[in-house]
């Protein structure tokens, strides 16, 4: 049965939206083929060499006809572009209440970790009917996390975070492919998504050894790696406090403003001298090479988790604005 499929299973909300555009495009293609091929076949027969068809007064130009077949496709194209752009905007912007999963691609496997701490390799378990957001990066080359059944596709790029999200609609198992060529075993960098009923998912999440959530692991790292030695109220070093900063703009020494997000925190850990907060010295050492991608993600999750706390710095002297 599987061999005679023409479409992959539709297992996410965006799958349906994308398939509708696809069907519209298929219909348009068939229509254009009819508009072009039927006259070609008709003329080929009627005006074949030696036929007695009337060939007097052939037209060789017509601004009216040319304008027609320029403007009509243009209008159709603007419509298609808009439809595609609206759905694209939707699939590129995750909802705020999405479950968080972190994905790290490396030659040639996927390592995934749920916000609650559960880890997986080449498998992703998710509950049905809940939005799930993947935050992804690569340890080496560019990969791409592709789930055909969800019409979900995003490159996984080293040195930066990319996101994709889905809301699964049907329990079942679906392929994960790496679709960006990544070396010798590219075609073996595959896995599966398991979509489960919510109760089954809860049960799955709570089996195995007790877990430390990603943010808690980040907090532990924050202490163990000495971050808290400087980034705290009691520190004798002059370092910015991180509570309450997530998602907010901060001024830089260069006079620019930057929003505290994954990119800024990541760069500040690996390249501390790149964007220095206003009023501070570049005294922080780089952690490049000493922290793994997972650990950087954990630290980011921790800083994000304290993003809603009021910053103790507001009462402290020399605080950054």
């Amino acid at each position: 049965m599987d061999q005679f499929r023409l479409f992959p299973p539709e297992a996410s909300t965006s799958a349906q939206q994308i398939d509708w555009i696809y069907f519209a495009l298929v219909a348009l293609t068939v229509l254009i083929c009819v508009i072009v091929f039927v006259p070609i076949i008709f003329f080929s027969i009627k005006y074949r060499r030696g036929s007695k068809a009337d060939r007097s007064n052939p037209r060789v130009e017509s601004v009216f006809i040319e304008s027609g077949w320029t403007i009509v496709p243009l209008l159709i194209f603007i419509g298609l572009f808009s439809w595609g752009a609206v759905v694209y905007f939707h699939v590129e912007n995750p909802p705020r209440d999405a479950l968080q999963v972190q994905v790290i691609g490396k030659q040639w496997m996927w390592r995934l970790q749920h916000a609650e701490g559960k880890q997986e390799i080449n498998e992703l378990h998710v509950p049905v009917d809940r939005p799930v957001e993947l935050t992804m990066t690569s340890q080496d080359v560019i990969h791409s996390f592709f789930v055909p059944a969800f019409r979900l596709h995003q490159d996984v790029v080293p040195g930066k975070y990319t996101h994709e999200w889905f809301r699964a609609t049907r329990p079942g198992e679906y392929h994960i492919f790496c679709s960006q060529y990544c070396g010798t075993q590219h075609s073996a960098m595959i896995g599966r998504v398991v979509v489960m009923e919510p109760l089954d998912y809860e049960r799955w999440l709570n089996t195995g050894r007790p877990m430390e959530s990603i943010a808690l692991a980040g907090e532990r790292l924050f202490r163990e790696r000495g971050c808290s030695g400087c980034h705290s109220v009691n520190s004798k070093f002059h370092a910015p406090l991180l509570e309450g900063t997530w998602g907010k703009p901060v001024p830089l020494e260069s006079g620019e403003m930057v929003t505290v997000d994954e990119r800024y925190v990541r760069d500040s850990i690996l390249l501390p001298g790149k964007e220095i907060s206003k009023g501070y010295q570049n005294i922080m050492p780089s952690f490049a090479g000493t922290l793994s991608e997972e650990e950087i993600m954990q630290l980011i999750a921790y800083i994000k988790s304290i993003g809603n706390q009021t910053s103790p710095s507001e009462s402290a002297p020399n605080a950054s604005r």
Binding site: P8, I32, V36, I40, Y47, R55, H153, H175
Partner: protein, 552 residues
């Protein structure tokens, strides 16, 4: 069975006439020739070699993909095969094909010139091309490269263990041949036109070659820079693309596609030019909307530079940049659509001869239409999210490049073959080959659209078993396609000795190149270059039809 070629065949006379092929023979005469016609033939043999090697690589890939398991070659070999196939087909076959073979041969004659503007540079371009090809072949023989033809970073700069530098150097060197050829054609078309041959009396093949030359000259240097910078990072570890060294891998994609998307139009515009010549000649009619078809070529050349970002909709490029590139990609489809509609309208009230070149031209329109329409799927942001890097993309660009460009190249080669060699190819065999190619092509690549939408990623050595049926169809099609390409190889060679003598104008075509004997004399026209007094394509379908009725 009547063919299109029973018209005024002129016998050669008693004395063998002197022409460009017999004026001076021997290896040295050929290797030092500055005759654009001979250089065209040198290019023809050269790209044939690369085409055959790249086809063998394709055949091995199709055999591997017969079964879901990777059991015919290892994954490492498979990755090298698709790299060889891509690099050779793109840079050593498709890009040079029509410009350097048919363009070199026909452009000076079509504009009534004795040669191109810079004959020595023309020969130099061939030597540079051969040098680039030799470097690439060296890299292939000494173990190959496994980056894919796109050389994406940081894989190519830091992780790939193969002859990336040599392969890139080969492409880099060959690029200069493109630049010189483009420049030469532009100078030739500007300065060497016959008396009375104004811009709007130029054949459409010349317009499309002019547009192609503009892209060759403007885009190819960007490829050279991109590959050079990639080598700098790979050799000296200067951080440009690899984030571990402080670089940005997406920057490479911007630079690469800034060249490689216009390169798609380098590959298709010449084909469109050939098809305009064929459709008019074999429907005995002036082209419908000459000005629009010519302007469409220039519009494609300009807009083609502004759409590179549609290769990067899921690469982490900004959503808003994606939207701009999406609408621009829709816009670039409009001039292509205009051309298709105008070709179709040209058939109306024509007197249509189904000679081999016409079959290829009609095949081109069909396949190019499907290729172009599926391009819209990829320009549509949300749909591209799903089919990006899947077999859908593979099928789409093969419809454009093989279904479009190679069909047009074969059509043009059949059309100008009597002029090149003075002999006619066997017409029935030609028709058979055209039909075989058309059917084999569709069977090979249509199933790949379905595979792509099902989710089969490109560059996969092994795949889940549910994709097998369409892969088997595709491989079956490829073997038919192979026959379609082998047939002309055989009968073209056969025709060199046994083909009927063609005479100066077997197609009763109107272009200047048909006003000189076949094969043409060394300097194209026997005494004086022609003077042009009217628009191109002054065919009359009515006269042709009356003539045919009278002869029955």
């Amino acid at each position: 069975m009547k063919t299109a070629i029973e018209i005024d065949i002129q016998t050669e006379g008693e004395m063998p006439r002197e022409h460009y092929l017999n004026v001076k023979t021997g290896v040295k005469a050929w290797l030092l020739t500055m005759d654009h016609k001979r250089i065209g033939i040198l290019y023809l043999w050269t790209i044939l070699v690369f085409f055959l090697i790249a086809s063998v690589a394709a055949a091995m890939m199709r055999i591997e993909l017969l079964t879901p398991q990777g059991d015919f070659v290892t994954n490492e070999t498979y990755n090298k095969l698709f790299t060889i196939h891509g690099v050779l087909m793109v840079w050593f076959f498709l890009i040079p094909s029509i410009p350097t073979v048919l363009g070199n041969f026909a452009i000076p004659m079509m504009i009534g010139a004795r040669d191109v503007a810079f004959p020595k540079l023309n020969l130099l371009s061939w030597y540079i091309f051969v040098a680039g090809g030799a470097l690439t072949l060296w890299a292939i023989i000494h173990g190959g490269v496994d980056t894919g033809w796109t050389f994406y970073t940081p894989y190519s700069t830091t992780y790939a263990n193969s002859h990336v530098i040599t392969m890139a150097a080969g492409v880099f060197v060959a690029g200069f041949s493109s630049i010189i050829t483009g420049m030469n054609f532009m100078a030739t078309i500007h300065k060497m036109r016959a008396a009375g041959l104004t811009w709007f009396r130029l054949p459409l093949f010349i317009w499309s070659m002019y547009a192609t030359s503009v892209i060759l000259v403007l885009a190819t240097p960007v490829l050279a820079i991109t590959l050079a910078v990639m080598c700098v990072e790979r050799i000296w570890g200067v951080g440009i693309f690899d984030p571990k060294l402080g670089g940005d891998p997406i920057l490479f994609q911007h630079m690469f596609w800034f060249y490689s998307h216009p390169a798609v139009y380098i590959m298709i515009l010449p084909g469109m030019g050939v098809v305009s010549e064929l459709i008019t000649c074999f429907s005995r009619k002036q082209i419908f909307g000459y000005g629009f078809v010519a302007a469409a070529s220039m519009a494609i050349a300009v807009l083609g530079f502004l759409v590179w970002g549609h290769h990067m909709f899921v690469s982490s490029q900004s959503v808003y940049a994606g939207m701009v590139f999406s609408i621009l990609s829709f816009l670039v489809a409009i001039p292509s659509a205009i051309k298709v509609f105008n070709w179709t309208a040209t058939l109306h009230k024509g007197s249509i001869h189904f000679a081999t070149p016409m079959l290829y031209a009609l095949g081109f329109i069909g396949l190019f239409t499907i290729g172009g329409m599926t391009g819209l799927f990829l320009a549509t942001l949300a749909v591209d999210v799903h089919v990006h890097d899947s077999y859908f993309v593979i099928a789409h660009f093969h419809y454009i490049m093989v279904g479009g460009m190679v069909m047009a190249f074969m059509g043009g080669l059949h059309y100008w073959w009597p002029k090149i060699t003075g002999r006619l190819y066997p017409e029935m065999a030609g028709k058979l080959a055209a039909l075989t190619t058309f059917l084999g092509f569709n069977l090979t690549f249509f199933p790949q659209f379905i595979l792509g939408y099902l989710g089969m990623p490109r560059r996969y050595h092994a795949y889940p078993p549910e994709f097998q049926m369409f892969n088997v169809l595709s491989t079956a099609g490829a073997s038919i396609l192979g026959i379609g390409y082998l047939l002309p190889l055989i009968y073209f060679l056969w025709s060199l000795k046994f083909g009927r003598v063609a005479g100066p104008n077997p197609w009763r075509a109107t272009g200047l190149e048909w006003q000189t004997p076949s094969p043409p004399p060394k300097h194209n026209f026997e005494d004086k270059t022609p003077i042009v007094t009217e628009k191109p394509y002054s065919y009359s379908a009515k006269e042709d039809a009356d003539l045919n009725l009278a002869s029955i």
